[in-house]
């Protein structure tokens, strides 16, 4: 009697379960399987226990890749979130400018990753690239292939160019949902532009910004295609991020066991950091109050 509706509804969810099982759970289990075994090919496996994990967590190479990855994500968030919010604030609220801005903002998001990498690879070249050529003619010595700083700068610039739009669009949607009355009230109260931002726009944008930070963190933490196309992880290992390192390990060296262990650790790190971000940002004293 207490049971709401009937249980046949669960059958509707079944296909999704099957799909998720095939696309996520089974591969993940395979990876877990690999991570605790050793193989020399021809389907011969040896039990390795936690060896690969111990080795990974003590490996200098992993520490460095993880450090680079964290550094990259931090820089990306520090630049893209404020920049995205600022651009969203500058966008027109009504009139013909709105669709124009929205289309312009959406453009970079529509370009495939590898094309973005290729564009910047050409763009930055000293001989034929607009950016590289111009900088070199202006007297800066710029070469992203040989110089570590230049490589980082280029990758960051590329990511900012590619993904800030996402933050802009999310922030803009958040801003649009604020009723006019709030701006009128602030105007009447003599609030400064900064106060309006801090007391009205930022609190009301909070929820979309949480989503923006999470998305940008997860995406940047998993970045692969663009730096692979642009620098291939170099010069040296200076732009070898976790994902690039993982591919080198798995497909370059064919060390399936260590690579599997790294995948699992990689996955757990993303999960943990996303959870930390989410908890910190949604820690709102009002939400415990109950009634709205």
């Amino acid at each position: 009697m207490d049971k709401p509706f009937n249980n046949r509804a669960w059958f509707l969810v079944l296909p999704v379960f099957a799909l998720v099982a095939f696309s996520a759970i089974l591969p993940l289990m395979t990876v877990v399987n690999y991570s605790v075994q050793d193989t020399f090919g021809s389907n011969v496996f040896f039990w390795a226990g936690t060896d690969w994990y111990v080795q990974l967590l003590n490996s200098e190479r992993f520490h460095q890749a993880l450090g680079r990855q964290l550094m990259f994500s931090a820089i990306v968030l520090i630049i893209q979130i404020p920049l995205g919010v600022v651009i969203a604030l500058c966008m027109p609220r009504k009139g013909w400018g709105v669709p124009v801005c929205l289309v312009l903002m959406a453009l970079p998001l529509l370009i495939p990753w590898n094309v973005v990498g290729t564009i910047w690879q050409v763009f930055g070249r000293g001989d034929i690239g607009l950016l590289g050529y111009t900088l070199n003619r202006m007297g800066f010595s710029y070469n992203y292939v040989n110089d570590v700083g230049d490589a980082w700068l280029t990758i960051i610039a590329m990511d900012v160019w590619h993904w800030t739009s996402l933050v802009v669009l999310l922030a803009y949607a958040g801003l649009r949902s604020i009723p006019e009355a709030y701006y009128h009230a602030a105007q009447i109260d003599g609030a400064s532009r900064w106060s309006v931002f801090r007391l009205i726009q930022l609190p009301k944008m909070k929820h979309v910004l949480i989503i923006a930070v999470l998305l940008r963190f997860m995406d940047s933490f998993m970045i692969y295609t663009e730096p692979f196309v642009l620098t291939g992880g170099g010069p040296g290992n200076s732009t070898t991020f976790l994902s690039i390192d993982l591919v080198k390990l798995a497909l370059g060296q064919f060390d399936l066991g260590p690579a599997a262990a790294m995948s699992i650790v990689y996955f757990l790190v993303i999960l943990l950091l996303s959870w930390v971000f989410y908890t910190v940002m949604t820690n709102d004293p009002d939400r415990q109050g109950g009634a709205a």
């Binding site: 009355a181 009230a185 003599g190 009002d286």
Partner: protein, 360 residues
Amino acid sequence: MAAITLERLAHSYLPNPRSDADYALKPLDITWRDGGAYALLGPSGCGKTTLLNIISGLVRPSAGRVLFDGTDVTHTPTESRNIAQVFQFPVVYDTMSVYENLAFPLKNRGLSRSATDARVREIAEMLGLTSDLERRAARLTADAKQKISLGRGLVRADTNAILFDEPLTVIDPLLKWELRAHLKQLHQKVGRTMIYVTHDQTEAMTFADTVVVMYDGGVVQIGTPAELFLRPAHTFVGYFIGSPGMNVLPARVEGDVAHVGGTAIKLARGYPDLPPGQRIEIGIRPEDMRLKASGEGLPIRIGRVDDIGRIKIARARFEEHDINVVVPEDAIIPGETAKAVPAPERVHVYADGHLVEGAA
């Protein structure tokens, strides 16, 4: 505090208005004295919100001037007009406490901390918010939030006028009674010019000394609540004010007798020179008729009697017209057919919708 003068004020949202219909607000002249309580009353789309936005500076009028104490403020931006506004839906700064909300306008104007504190506490006391001062504003109920909005206007000493845009929309009926009375008391205490926009006749009439009734972008009548009720200048005012509205019946008036259908009604005044060719109607409020079983009066057929507690409304037909008669709660309804007897001094004559003054 300021007197507000609107001079040949008109507004159109179109760049090149041609006909009358293009105007959201047709030319009007109004003077509001310093410290008065005024209401703008009318249905949706009558132009009352446009007028409010012009006064607050959110909309620049297409024509005419707005004067505060004789100073032209037509092109002064909102923040320099020293006005306050309470909106339909509560607007508070969610992240601040009630205290900080109230102090905010003073802080922005660089008032000293001690002066701010004294003023905030005084206003909080007046509004009954003292015990909530340290609470987060976001956590309060809708009526408390509306008080905070009002408080942010009252807290400033230099407020020229406080504007209300349907402030009781989201308030429950019982709290409405409290808040309305509170507002009225506050007005009497602080003596600021207050302008209240609403579609609700009870709110407008109870709040204001003078009510401006608007319809279709124009002002149809300005008067005290009693004037609007007793002598509606236009059939629209008769219909819009009063619940149910005035009964309006087509008539032929000869001297001091109105012929409504087949019935003659005695009028208190004579109307010897009614303009020819105009539509003549008489208006009688449902409250201004008595029901009798027989005798003189409009023969009506009572369809339904709504007992709404302290009064009863008889919903009836007179010839081909719907007609309402209000009777006291203890009155006895004679039967299905009855005579509705109007009080002669309360029967008004309208020509093309406008009230005609009779001759004694």
